[in-house]
């Protein structure tokens, strides 16, 4: 049985001091400790971004792939190696912009994965451009000098519409609560989505206010999609809690054992 800190790999993060991603790392190690996770049987899969650097910092297997493709890599790995605990992690840019399609289809596919998005409403790694979750009038990016002027992407509402069977929102400033969410997400059979509010101190210093603004909203028992939809269409995006849990059949159905098979006879004349 390892302690939380023993789930750190010892590689020092390149993150800015105060970055929310530290809180997520902290929460993952705590969840692993609670799960008594064997390090060799867990794999963290990510794309590209500050947040996507996380796998290297955890004492487990990791795959740091290309931008936006964490979920397909995780899906292939989990389907091929169902006994592993596979967790995809990344940022809002990685997951909702370039990776948006995989997000939708992972929600429908319901492979037994956890997907944790560290949402700081910005592209941290490329120097602070607007991401899909950036507020419409945030005009700090040179690429959108008048703000993106678009309706922000609503990850939880979309996950629900796309068919995710576990939807929660955590806060990097509350690593213990987040650890519990991750713990439950791992235990949940099927695709579990956790949006984590994870401040970017460098490009969005205003997110320090989240400490005051984030509020608890527990719908732990909510397995009614209509009720969840009603809640998610109304809330301010800063509620943390379990919004939806409704286990449905996991894909793929469990495998038949592969034995000696004859693939050739059909071709014989």
């Amino acid at each position: 049985m390892l302690k939380a800190k023993e789930y750190k790999s010892g590689i020092k993060p390149i993150w800015c001091p105060g970055c929310g991603h530290f809180g997520v790392l902290n929460a993952i190690t705590k969840a692993f400790a609670a799960l008594e996770q064997a390090p060799e049987n867990a794999v963290l899969v990510s794309g590209i971004g500050c947040s996507s650097r996380l796998p290297a910092y955890v004492n487990s297997y990791g795959f740091h792939g290309v931008h936006g493709r964490a979920l397909p890599v995780a899906t292939g790995l989990k389907v091929a190696r169902p006994e592993l605990n596979v967790i995809a992690v990344g940022g809002d840019g990685d997951g909702f912009s370039i990776g948006g399609n995989h997000f939708l289809h992972a929600c429908r596919r319901n492979v037994d994965l956890v997907y944790l998005v560290m949402d700081n409403e910005v592209y941290g790694m490329t120097k602070g451009q607007a991401s899909p979750t950036t507020p419409a009038h945030w005009d700090h990016s040179k690429l959108t000098p008048h703000g993106p002027q678009l309706r922000p992407f609503q990850p939880c509402a979309l996950a629900l519409a796309a068919g995710a069977s576990f939807i929660a929102r955590g806060y990097a400033g509350d690593p213990n609560g987040l650890a519990q969410m991750i713990f439950e997400a791992v235990r949940h059979p099927g695709f579990a989505f956790i949006q984590v509010l994870s401040q970017c101190v460098t490009f969005c210093p205003e997110q320090a206010r989240w400490k005051q603004q984030v509020h608890e909203e527990d719908h732990n028992d909510c397995c009614d999609p209509v009720a969840a939809a009603r809640f998610l269409h109304g809330e301010d995006g800063l509620a943390k809690g379990n919004f939806y849990r409704n286990p449905r059949p996991v894909w793929p159905p469990s495998a038949q054992a592969g034995g000696a098979v004859d693939l050739r006879s059909e071709f014989a004349l």
Binding site: E40, R69, P72, L104
Partner: protein, 628 residues
């Protein structure tokens, strides 16, 4: 397989041992028969010397055309199956109009007493059920003056483009079927041609039953009657040309498409994960895999797009499970970024690309060899990887097996280039020998000796680093597409970069020693080498045989290992002759340009599809060169 070295960890991923668990079914042949099987047109292994055993006189090409539900494709398939039972080898290709269904179509069938891997230039016997839109096939159905045409009485107005000189026989297939209460003139034509080829009624009926499996018995019975009536007609009015003679094959023979054989080869070599996004003409590879991979304990996932497909395969490959995807040009282009990830992170990955006409959406249902450049050069940065080409429909089996083994052994990307012609042509072939390849990771150095740090990207002598997979205790690491040190931590240092770049290039050099890099047939006193790749190879062999008949001995070489190119071995082949002619079916001569980049002095003959490259035009090119 090298020992995994760790006791406890192994149990729950035993399949990593890659025991495929497949019985080899019928017609298992010894390993050393493999190459005989692959290049069915000729005799022995690797590069053989001697006369090209293919005699043009023995073969026949039959085409059926019709439209709107006239079922000529079905006739082609049934006739091939029946003729095979009589002892013919053969090859069938299909051609369609742009309509999704019910459009005009043509089935082109070549039969011979020994294996055929390519098509002939002309049509010997053309059976026309409907003349309308015949001109659409002008590029593909080339009528010579000795072509013999059988037209249905109801086929409509014969186009003016049909040369007056050809002999034409009008037969009332429609009426014949009609008298029996059937609308299927195509079945009457089947009976007619079958009888001419020497098929028995049982053989034809067996083909009918195979094809019409899901129909009720009354339908089957009626069809049998119509076919028999067609046979009767053949007795009365045989086609005005001699029937070809079947062979006396002893070995078990198969009927399969190149795409099916590719899929089979992949599974037999150990592929246990497939990610799929449909695209013509690769979909049938994926479909065959979908209906068979479960039996091997493997999995197929239908992905949301090609980006997902290739990344899923990478995920499985990272997990130590041999994985592949199959696609065609547009899909391959979409996979380029992730293919670079497989190279940089050294993750085994097989990508089968079944080429169609390009660029862009191009001509999706027709064959062309235009994706050479993309396959060899389409990754950003310096990204050495493996590109193979399948040299015949049957060779799709061998090449996919080889690619699967290479990808795992070298922890690399292996792209296989096939094309619509290889992939979708249906071939009668000797049953392939047992698959000689198995996917195996080089895991010799795992886990690290106690106290040592596991170095995933170690620069070993061979260039192949020790690859752990999740589940291996004590060897946890993060695979990365960022440049990294030997210990798998990201690095922007010039030394690490140079080391990993060189290592990734060097590790593939081992492949250069492989005897599988090419197939060929040499002739004594040849002064010229015809050099091709992919589906051009059988055509070149055919041209060789024609040239032989014309007194011009040439060598033929089909290159299977396109990248990294075994340049020295190739040079040795080229040194045997005074001229080299590179042939390929694309507009820019992509392969020839590539070879020249190595310093090869060569002539090049290339032109785009969809018209197939023919032996005749190659023969003419060679003759022009030899004369000059």
């Amino acid at each position: 397989m090298a020992s995994c070295g760790s006791g406890g960890g192994i149990k729950f991923y035993e399949f990593l041992q890659f025991v495929p668990g497949l019985s080899q079914g019928n017609g298992v042949a010894a390993d050393n028969c493999y190459s005989a099987w692959i290049s069915p047109v000729r005799g022995k292994a690797a590069v053989t010397t001697g006369p090209n055993s293919r005699h043009l006189q023995d073969d026949i090409t039959i085409a059926f055309t019709g439209s709107g539900g006239s079922g000529v494709i079905a006739v082609g398939e049934m006739l091939l199956r029946a003729a095979a039972r009589v002892g013919f080898y053969g090859l069938l290709r299909k051609s369609y109009g742009p309509q999704i269904r019910g459009g005009e179509s043509a089935a082109i069938l070549r039969l011979a007493p020994q294996p055929v891997a390519g098509f002939a230039d002309g049509i010997d016997l053309l059976v026309v059920l409907d003349w309308s839109h015949f001109s659409r096939f002008g590029d593909e159905l080339i009528l010579g003056t000795d072509t013999c045409i059988i037209e249905d009485a109801a086929a409509g107005v014969r186009p003016l483009t049909v040369p007056a000189a050809v002999s034409i026989l009008t037969l009332d297939f429609t009426g014949l079927a009609g008298t029996l209460g059937s609308a299927h003139n195509n079945i009457a034509a089947l009976g007619y041609c079958g009888a001419w080829l020497g098929c028995s009624a049982e053989q034809l009926v067996a083909s009918l039953n195979h094809r019409l499996q899901r129909q009720d018995s009354a339908t089957l019975k009626l069809a049998a009657q119509v076919a028999q009536a067609g046979m009767g007609l053949a007795a009365e009015h045989p086609p005005p040309l001699a029937a070809p003679q079947p062979g006396r094959p002893e070995a078990t023979r198969w009927l399969a498409t190149g795409n099916q054989l590719a899929a089979l080869g992949a599974l037999e070599a150990g592929i246990r994960f497939v990610a799929a996004y449909p695209i013509t003409p690769a979909s049938d590879v994926l479909e065959w895999l979908a209906t068979h991979i479960d039996k091997t304990g493997g999995r197929l996932v239908q992905a949301e797009d090609e980006l997902a497909a290739v990344n899923m395969a990478i995920g499985a490959g990272y997990g130590g499970v041999p994985a592949m995807t199959a696609t065609s040009g547009p899909g391959l282009a979409l996979m380029a970024e992730a293919m670079g990830l497989a190279v940089a992170s050294e993750t085994p990955l097989v990508v089968l690309n079944v080429m169609r006409g390009g660029p862009s959406t191009g001509i999706p249902t027709k064959s062309e060899q235009g994706d050479f450049n993309l396959a060899v050069y389409g990754l950003h940065g310096d990204a050495p990887h493996v590109v193979l080409s399948a040299l015949s429909p049957a060779d799709c089996h061998f090449t996919l097996g080889w690619a699967t083994a290479i990808a795992s052994h070298y922890q690399t990307l292996a792209v296989v280039l096939s094309d619509q012609l290889l992939g979708q042509s249906m071939q009668v072939l000797p049953a392939p020998p047992a698959m000689p390849f198995q996917a195996r990771l080089d895991r010799a150095a795992l886990p690290p000796v106690d106290g040592e740090h596991y170095l995933r990207y170690l620069d070993t002598g061979s260039g192949i680093s020790p690859m752990a997979v999740p589940g291996d205790p004590g060897a946890m690491y993060t695979a990365d597409g960022l440049e990294h040190s030997i210990g798998a931590t990201p690095s922007a240092g010039a030394g690490d970069h140079q080391q990993q770049l060189s290592k990734r290039q060097r590790k593939l050099m081992g492949l250069m020693q492989s005897e599988h890099w090419a197939e060929g047939v040499e002739q004594p006193e040849a002064r010229l080498l015809i050099l091709g790749w992919g589906s051009c190879y059988p055509v070149a062999l055919e041209a060789q045989s024609c040239l032989e008949a014309a007194g011009v001995p040439v060598n033929v070489l089909g290159v299977r290992l396109l990248a990294p190119l075994p340049w020295e071995a190739l040079q040795a082949q080229c040194a045997k002759v005074s001229q080299v002619l590179v042939i390929e079916q694309n507009h820019q001569g992509q392969f020839a340009r590539y070879l020249r980049g190595f310093g090869l002095q060569c002539h090049a003959y290339h032109r785009p599809g969809p018209r197939l490259l023919t032996a005749l035009e190659i023969q003419q090119q060679v003759e022009a060169l030899v004369d000059a």
